[in-house]
């Protein structure tokens, strides 16, 4: 085997010549205007889970074992062990959201599911903003076609929609709190859309 070019021997350990640093597009966002606060959750990992055709029951069982909560119905989410949130997006598709800084979220979930479901890392596909506070709903009314009235959209409900031409996953995480996820490449436009909505109601 050839000499490991990328490693330089320093004492007894090898350290790489180069290191990569993480720079998620919305990192550090924390804006409060009137009765709404907008923050970007740090280190939010997203892994998609697909239920194999014909293997749904086994996959559901594995999910329950892995996360301590059953896969919820489509359009609902549920909190499992260590605060992981399972979001059911379709008959055969779910997301698991959890706090995990290192770039191995998919491997972690895959290991827990023991091959009973297909997993794909979605962490960097998405950017996330949490809007919270009493003005949240009024602000979202300006861009969100969903009916977010408490009677229509209960805590832990989840739905996909389009806001200002941006595909968005909306999860109601609290009485007055919503987690909004959209494509990470258009994070700047997304932040602008949500922030403008808050400014426009104040």
């Amino acid at each position: 085997m050839s000499r490991p070019i990328s490693l330089i021997r320093k004492g007894n350990v090898c350290v790489p010549d180069y290191t990569l640093t993480s720079a998620p597009p919305l990192a550090g966002t924390d804006i409060t205007i009137g009765g709404a606060r907008l923050t970007a959750p740090a280190d939010l990992a997203v892994v998609s889970i697909a239920l194999p055709l014909g293997g749904e029951a086994a996959a559901q069982k594995a999910i329950k074992t892995a996360f301590g909560t059953a896969l919820p119905e489509v359009g609902k989410s549920a909190i499992g062990k260590n605060g992981a949130r399972l979001v059911r997006l379709g008959r055969d598709q779910a997301f698991v959201l959890f706090i995990h800084a290192t770039p191995d979220a998919e491997a972690v979930v895959a290991a827990r599911l023991k091959g009973k479901a297909y997993t794909t890392d979605q962490t960097d596909v998405w950017c996330a903003l949490e809007i919270s506070g009493p003005d949240s709903r009024a602000a979202l009314e300006r861009i969100c076609p969903l009916d977010l009235h408490p009677q229509a959209f209960a805590v832990d409900d989840a739905a996909r929609t389009s806001m200002e031409h941006l595909g968005t996953l909306t999860i109601r995480t609290g009485e007055n709190a919503y987690l909004l996820m959209s494509a990470s490449s258009s994070a700047g436009s997304f932040l602008h859309a949500v922030e403008t909505s808050i400014k426009n109601i104040n």
């Binding site: 490991p4 770039p103 297909y118 794909t120 960097d124 859309a193």
Partner: protein, 982 residues
């Protein structure tokens, strides 16, 4: 000027004085006034000039149906033309000017057109400006547009902002008059989620304009109490200053909220909001609009609708005149006389077309039965009216009532047709309403207050039941049925002078009759021939009388005559509101590549590619233009190594036991046997055999593939594959998810690509040519454990890789690659160099995959498998698509190497004339090849594959160029592919 016409009473706040100007003249009004009521209070009757004849015009109505009193509000960039003074709320500091005149409003030079009226009747333009044809665009139209017209734009950017929004409810109540309030109360008390929208700033509708009582209290007071009760309900949302302008599919209504139009400044907040109201059910309680009677010179300032005159007196404490007469064909007109008389205004006469006893006692008023007004006097303001019997009555205000027309507009927005009701002389909503809508009150032909209140509750309760909820048992508010008898009477036949129907577009009774005589008899023809109802007011006051006159001419009933189609919007919606926030940089979302920050710090010029901003080239100091940068990037990449962010290419994660079979069905070439650790080029066809998209797919594991698509088609390909998965082959175990944004992917190309990558890929991953050959792929780690994906694929034709890391490390990865590449003089390259290199290599891209070409055209016909079932392979074999002389993709180079090729040029055989008939094909892509030192091109030409060496002409009539080009192989560089396999 003082408020000479101000009388007692009204809903205005006399403690709040508002200063405003009209044509520079300082005036005062009060909070609660509209501009129209304030102008009338100040005795200003002349407010504008008419569209066509520049006739002096005044205020005609007291609401959104106003055809006459169009003014310009504000100044500078905020200037807004064509605003109806009758709905413009007065605020302190308002500046208003009249419009459509040359010189002053009083002495409009364009009024000369009125003298030419005999020549300017209906159809004038159609008949006069027919020839010479070329004159229309250059001379006639600009001239006509200049002389006719309304206000003017500021020609500056609109400094206001606008917003949009979404509202959801169980029941939308449109209109907060008596029936709307009654409906909203019933629904609100039942616990339904109610939205009550009203265009006015003070809800209550006609209750604010009348002296009628509800539940024993004054109508306006009852309305205020009802609003207070509704406002206290959590389940009710009251939206004032909000016009519901359209009824769309699925119970969705369009509404415009005017948030700051009543304020001196918007304070940086959205001026208007365009709402989409999602309703499960709706109650239309839009009320009715009074219509005029047509008689000679009935357009003079001072001739007004009777209900409006009453509104000014009762709601605004203003009398439009000191000597008033009423001209009516119905009982309702009498209330104007009674209400004004009660306020001490002199009523000189009540002229009733009917031979009937007095409806009520009006002190001091003469009741003239079976009579009509035949003409008027007073050019800039009414002085007297002349009756059919010749008697002249001095008046400064004539209140006219021709009956009331239910506001059926929204009931017709989905092609419903109204039906004629003889008993009330009006069209009422037909049976075919938009789904979920019910109509109540005057809008439904229930013309009395008692009927409106009762029906509002009943209709709301029916809607509540239909929603599966329990209606409130509380009784409807009580009122009396006021007299509403109406006799059909549309125009005064004895009038010799012009009798106006459409005040805004200057359409007269004579015009309608002429339209009939000239064969334009259907209502839709009438509208287009005379322009009746085509102005900004959409003929709200004019249409029904005009239809009645047409019915008279044809001898048909009004039911058979019908109405023109009502379409949204009910009242004008500013384009700014329709645009909302979509302006400037925010016109649409933008997408950034992971290395965008690095690129912007390193001289990149960006180009829009779909929504993406991609680095086009990276300029270095001293470079004279983009070509310098691009040539350098190509040369340095081909000589050593270059790096390009290729994240924008679509990435689709494909997993499942049947993934291989699935891919084999969506790609035209074979994918069933792709080995783990290998990448393959794939071509997708449309069902009709035309090329759809191309890309590569890597097999990362037994059941795991990663597909790439073109940047442009990423979403379309994903959508189409999802359709195939769910609908075409639901029995396959295959799962798709986009990972385009998840991985920062970089092309590392050039002879030193491997050497560079060895510095960042962790030891233990053997990327030698033997271990990791061309078209290999695999998971590696970089920079000490960072998970990454490596693909040995090449778009440039060089030894090349694409390396992907999680996107959040992408900017850092670009820095690392450049740092590690220093010893090789590594360069970043942009989309231009990428394009040059792919043209040099003869790779097809968007210009070649243009939705018209097949694999056969591209020289890839043999790739389309005929031994499997896949999308497009059957129809790709149609004989017409496989003709011998079909166009084929080949390369072109100028015979004179110094000449520059032009994309889009068409190929013509030497000696042939450059005509369509002789067209041989076209040049799709061109570039200056730094590697060859001359211009090169790709293109399609008939039988191109068998014509190598032939010289043809590349002709571009647009550029006026003709260049001799030689047909060559599309592979200008390394045709054997030795470099990419190195």
């Amino acid at each position: 000027m003082s408020q000479t016409n101000r009388i007692k009473g009204g809903l205005i706040d006399r403690n709040q004085v508002m200063n405003f100007t009209f044509n520079g003249k300082a005036m005062q009004g009060h909070a609660g006034d509209t501009l129209a009521s304030a102008l009338l209070a100040n005795g200003q009757r002349l407010v504008g000039r008419s569209f066509k004849y520049h006739r002096p015009r005044g205020i005609f109505t007291a609401g959104s149906e106003e055809p006459n009193a169009l003014v310009q509000l504000r100044s500078g960039a905020y200037q807004e033309p064509n605003t109806r003074a009758t709905v413009a709320e007065l605020f302190d500091g308002l500046t208003a000017t009249s419009q459509n005149h040359r010189g002053s409003l009083e002495f409009d030079l364009m009024a000369v057109t009125d003298l030419m009226a005999p020549f300017l009747s209906a159809g004038f333009y159609y008949k006069t400006f027919m020839w010479p044809r070329a004159f229309w665009e250059k001379l006639y139209e600009p001239m006509i547009r200049k002389s006719a017209g309304l206000g003017s734009l500021s020609m500056e950017e609109d400094p206001d902002s606008y917003d949009k929004g979404f509202v959801h409810c169980d029941l939308l109540v449109i209109g907060a008059g008596p029936s709307g309030l009654s409906a909203a109360l019933a629904a609100g008390r039942a616990g339904a989620r109610v939205v009550l929208a009203d265009e006015d700033f003070t809800p209550g509708g006609r209750l604010n304009a009348e002296t009628l009582e509800v539940d024993g209290t004054a109508g306006a007071d009852w309305a205020a109490q009802a609003i207070a009760e509704l406002a206290a309900m959590d389940n009710v949302r009251i939206m004032t200053r909000t016009t519901v302008y359209g009824a769309y599919d699925h119970g969705i209504y369009g509404a415009l909220e005017r948030c700051t139009d009543h304020l001196a400044s918007s304070g940086g907040k959205p001026r208007q909001i365009l709402w989409r109201i999602y309703s499960k059910r709706a109650v239309l309680a839009a009320g009715s609009t009074e219509r005029p009677i047509a008689f000679g010179n009935n357009d003079r300032p001072g001739v007004m609708l009777a209900g409006a005159v009453r509104t000014y007196a009762n709601r605004y404490g203003v009398t439009p005149g000191q000597q008033v007469a009423v001209f009516t064909n119905n009982d309702d007109g009498w209330r104007t006389a009674a209400d004004l008389a009660a306020n001490g205004v002199a009523i000189n006469a009540i002229i009733d077309t009917r031979d009937a006893p007095a409806v009520c006692d009006v002190p001091g008023a003469r009741h003239i039965r079976n009579a009509a007004v035949v003409d008027t006097v007073g050019r800039k303001g009414l002085k007297s009216v002349t009756l059919t019997d010749g008697q002249v009555i001095p008046v400064d205000c004539l209140a006219v009532s021709g009956g009331w027309s239910p506001n059926v507009h929204l009931t017709c927005h989905q092609r419903g047709r109204p039906t004629w009701r003889e008993d009330i002389c009006a069209f009422v909503p037909g049976a075919d309403l938009p789904p979920g809508m019910a109509v109540a009150g005057a809008a439904n032909g229930s013309m009395t207050l008692a009927a409106a209140l009762t029906e509002g509750r009943a209709v709301a309760n029916a809607q509540i039941k239909a929603l599966g909820m329990t209606p409130s048992r509380k009784a409807a508010p009580k009122a009396e049925d006021e007299p509403r008898d109406c006799a059909p009477f549309w125009h005064v036949g004895e009038s010799k002078n012009r009798a106006w129907l459409d005040l805004q577009n200057d359409v007269t009774v004579k015009d309608v009759k002429q339209s009939y005589r000239e064969g334009f008899r259907s209502v839709e023809h009438l509208k287009r021939y005379t322009t009746l109802g085509m102005a900004t007011d959409q003929g709200k006051t004019a249409n029904i009388p005009a239809l009645a006159i047409m019915a008279e001419c044809t001898g048909k009933t009004l039911q058979d005559t019908g109405t023109t189609i009502f379409r949204p919007p009910y009242t004008p919606v500013p384009l700014g509101a329709l645009g909302g926030r979509s302006r400037g940089k925010d016109f649409r979302p933008y997408r950034l590549t992971p290395s965008h920050k690095w690129a912007s710090e390193n001289g990149a010029t960006f180009v829009e590619v779909g929504n993406w901003l991609r680095a086009q080239w990276y300029a270095r100091p001293g470079e004279q233009g983009w070509r310098d940068s691009v040539d350098r990037e190509v040369e340095m990449t081909r000589n050593s190594v270059g790096i390009c962010d290729v994240t924008t290419l679509g990435k689709i994660d494909v997993q499942g036991k049947d993934a291989a079979e699935f891919l084999n069905k969506v790609y035209a070439n074979g994918f069933a046997k792709l080995a783990v650790g290998k990448v393959r080029y794939g071509l997708m066809l449309r069902e009709d055999g035309i090329c759809y998209d191309d890309g590569t797919t890597a097999r990362m594991g037994e059941n795991h593939y990663v597909m790439t698509t073109t940047t442009a088609n990423a979403v379309l390909v994903f959508r189409r594959m999802e359709f195939a998965r769910q609908c075409l082959w639901p029995d396959l175990d295959v799962h798709l998810i986009s990972t385009t944004d998840g991985w920062a992917q970089f092309a590392v190309a050039g002879p030193n690509a491997r050497n560079l990558l060895r510095k960042v890929i962790d030891a233990g991953h053997d990327i030698s040519n033997e271990a990791f050959p061309f078209m290999g792929c695999g998971e590696v780690t970089v920079c000490g454990g960072m998970p990454a994906r490596l693909f040995r694929i090449s778009f440039s034709g060089e030894l090349a890789y694409e390396i992907a890391v999680p996107a959040r490390y992408g900017n850092s990865m670009m820095q690392v690659l450049m740092e590690a590449g220093k010893e090789f003089d590594a360069v970043p390259y942009g989309t231009e160099a990428l394009g040059v290199m792919r043209i040099e290599k003869g790779h097809a891209a968007g210009n070649e995959l243009n939705g018209q070409t097949t694999a056969y055209n591209l020289g890839m016909g043999k790739m389309v498998s005929q031994t499997k079932e896949c999308i497009g392979n059957v129809l790709s074999q149609r004989p017409e698509m496989l003709l011998e002389d079909a166009i084929k993709l080949v390369g072109f180079r100028p015979v004179d190497r110094s000449q520059k090729l032009i994309a889009g040029s068409h190929f013509i055989t030497k000696g042939d004339e450059a005509t369509m008939a002789n067209d041989q094909g076209w040049m799709t892509s061109v570039a200056y090849s730094p590697s060859l030192g001359h211009s090169i091109g790709l293109g399609f030409i008939k039988s191109g594959d068998t014509r190598k060496g032939e010289v043809v002409r590349a002709v571009s009539p647009i550029h006026g160029t003709e260049i001799e080009v030689e047909i060559v192989s599309a592979h200008f560089i390394d045709p054997e592919g030795e470099r990419l396999r190195a």
